[in-house]
C-alpha cells in the first residue's frame, strides 16, 4: 500500500491552529450524543402517543396512528431532513420562514426533530407490538376494577409494555445515534462530519475514519451496557427476562 500512515495526526493542530484534530473529533462525538439524546426524547414522546393511538378501540384513532407511521416510514430519512430544512421554511408565511432560516444552530434543531420524528414511527410500532403481546386479561381485569381507559393504560398496560419492549428499544436508540450522521447533509458537523473534515484538511483518511469508528463502537458499548443494567433493574418477575 502506498498510503502514508501518520497516527500522530490526532495531536497536530487543525487548520485554524487553535485546537487539535483529536479535540475536534471529541467535539463531534459530543454533538452526536446531544443530537441523539434530543432526537430520542422526541421519538419516545411521539412514539408513545402514536403507539397508544394504534391500540385504542377507536377506529379513527388507530387510523391516525397508521397514517402517521406510514408517512414517516416510507420516506428516506435524508429526504425527510431536506423537507424540514429546505422546504418547510418556504411553505410557511414569509415572516415565520425567515425566522426559521435565521435561527442559529438550525441544522442541530432540524436533525434532532427530523431524526426524532423518523424514529418515533418505529418506536410506535414497537410499543404497539408490546401492548399487543399482553394477555387480553390485563385490559379486562383493569376494566373490571373500574379503571378508565386512560387509567388502564397508565397503570397497567404501559408499565408492562415498556418493560417488555426494552430490548428492541435499545436497538432503536442505537439506530437513533447512527441516524444522526445523516444530518451531515444539512451541515451538522457531528462525529462523521468531523472525521470527514479532518480527512479533507489533513489527507489522513484512514486515521480519521478509524478514530470515528472506534468512537462509535465505544458509544454503542456504553449504550448496550447501560440498557442491560436498566433491563435487569426493571425486569418483570415471572417473565423469562425476570427472575
Amino acid at each position: 500500500m502506498s498510503y502514508h500512515w501518520n497516527w500522530h495526526i490526532f495531536f497536530e493542530p487543525d487548520p485554524t491552529g487553535s485546537t487539535t484534530y483529536l479535540d475536534l473529533l471529541l467535539q463531534g462525538l459530543l454533538l452526536t450524543i446531544e443530537t441523539a439524546l434530543c432526537a430520542w426524547v422526541i421519538a419516545l414522546v411521539f412514539g408513545s402517543i402514536i403507539g397508544v393511538l394504534r391500540t385504542l378501540p377507536s377506529k379513527t384513532a388507530s387510523w391516525i396512528g397508521f397514517c402517521y407511521v406510514e408517512f414517516f416510514r416510507n420516506m428516506p430519512l435524508l429526504v425527510q431532513l431536506f423537507l424540514w430544512f429546505f422546504v418547510l421554511p418556504e411553505l410557511l408565511p414569509p415572516a415565520a420562514g425567515l425566522w426559521l432560516k435565521q435561527l442559529p444552530h438550525a441544522s442541530f434543531y432540524t436533525a434532532a426533530i427530523g431524526v426524532g420524528l423518523f424514529m418515533s414511527a418505529r418506536v410506535a410500532e414497537q410499543l404497539r407490538a408490546g401492548i399487543g403481546s399482553l394477555p387480553r386479561g390485563q385490559k379486562q381485569a383493569a376494566t373490571a376494577l373500574g379503571l378508565t381507559t386512560a387509567q388502564a393504560y397508565a397503570y397497567v398496560l404501559l408499565p408492562m409494555a415498556f418493560r417488555i419492549i426494552l430490548p428492541p428499544l435499545t436497538s432503536e436508540f442505537l439506530s437513533t445515534i447512527k441516524n444522526t450522521s445523516v444530518a451531515i447533509t444539512i451541515g451538522l458537523v457531528e462525529l462523521t462530519g468531523q472525521a470527514r473534515s479532518m480527512q479533507e484538511f489533513s489527507f489522513q483518511v484512514f486515521e480519521a475514519f478509524t478514530a470515528a469508528t472506534l468512537l462509535y463502537l465505544l458509544l454503542n458499548l456504553v449504550v448496550v451496557t447501560g440498557m442491560r443494567l436498566l433491563e435487569r433493574a426493571v425486569a418483570i418477575p415471572g417473565y423469562i427476562a425476570g427472575r
Binding site: 429526504v79 447512527k178 441516524n179 480527512q199 462509535y216
Partner: protein, 230 residues
C-alpha cells in the same frame, strides 16, 4: 404559500430524474439486494457452522457493520476500495473506481450484515428434524443446505427480506454524500440549478413515498399468500 409552485420545472426534469436518477437507484437496489443476500447467507452459514473461528469472524463482521452509521461506511469504502483494488491487482497506485461500483460494493458489504441476521433467524427457525432427515438420506452438508434448509429458510423469511430491501431502497439515497446522481442526487442537482428546492424535494419525497408504500403493501399481500399453514 404554493402561489409560485412551478409544476413545469418537475415536468422538464422528468426524463433526467427517471432515466438517470431512478435507473441508478433501482439498479443499485436490485444488485445490492442480491449481492447482500448472497454474502449475508454465507455469513449466516459461517456463524452457524459450529467452527469457532469461522463463527467468530462472521459474528465480529456483522456486529461491526451494524454498529456503524451507513454514512461513515459509505465514506470508508469510497476511500478504501481504490487501495484494496491496488493491492489485489498489484498496481502502482490506487486504482480508479467508478461511483456506481464503489457504492455497489459498499451496499453489498453493509446490507450483508443485516441480511445475515435475517437468514440466521430463518435457518434457526427450521426444525432439527429436517437436517437430521437429510443426513439420514445421505446428503452432504452442502446438499442439505442447498436442497433442504436454505429453500425453506428463504421462503419463511421472504417478507422480512423484502422489507429489508425496501429499507435498502430508501438507504441508497445516502449516496448523496458522494455527490452521485441517484434519484435524490438528480433531484437535488435540478433543484439547485433552477433554484426550485420546494418543488423538487417535495416531488422526490412523493416518489419515494409512493414506491415504498406500494412495495410494502405488496409485501403484506405476499405475506398473507405464502404463509405456510402448519
Amino acid at each position: 404559500m404554493f402561489s409560485n409552485f412551478d409544476l413545469d420545472v418537475i415536468r422538464r426534469a422528468l426524463p433526467y430524474l427517471f432515466y438517470e436518477g431512478m435507473t441508478f437507484t433501482l439498479t443499485l437496489t436490485a444488485l445490492a439486494a442480491f449481492g447482500g443476500l448472497a454474502f449475508g447467507t454465507l455469513l449466516a452459514l459461517m456463524r452457524l457452522s459450529g467452527l469457532k473461528p469461522l463463527a467468530r469472524v462472521a459474528g465480529l463482521y456483522v456486529d461491526l457493520m451494524r454498529s456503524l452509521p451507513l454514512v461513515l461506511v459509505i465514506f470508508w469504502f469510497y476511500f478504501l476500495v481504490p487501495y484494496i483494488g491496488q493491492w489485489l491487482t498489484d498496481a502502482a497506485r490506487p486504482i480508479h473506481v467508478g461511483a456506481f461500483a464503489s457504492s455497489l460494493i459498499t451496499f453489498i458489504m453493509f446490507e450483508a450484515a443485516y441480511f445475515s441476521e435475517i437468514m440466521r433467524a430463518g435457518i434457526q427457525s427450521i426444525s432439527n428434524g429436517q437436517p437430521a432427515a437429510a443426513q439420514a438420506l445421505g446428503l452432504t452438508y452442502s446438499q442439505t443446505m442447498r436442497y433442504v434448509v436454505l429453500p425453506q429458510a428463504f421462503r419463511n423469511m421472504l417478507p422480512v427480506l423484502l422489507t429489508q430491501t425496501i429499507v435498502l431502497f430508501q438507504d441508497t439515497s445516502l449516496v448523496y454524500v458522494l455527490s452521485i446522481s441517484d434519484f435524490l442526487g438528480a433531484a437535488s442537482k435540478v433543484a439547485q440549478r433552477d433554484g426550485r428546492l420546494v418543488e423538487m424535494y417535495l416531488f422526490a419525497a412523493l416518489v419515494y413515498f409512493t414506491i415504498s408504500c406500494v412495495a410494502s403493501f405488496g409485501v403484506r399481500r405476499l405475506q398473507a399468500r405464502i404463509a405456510v399453514v402448519r
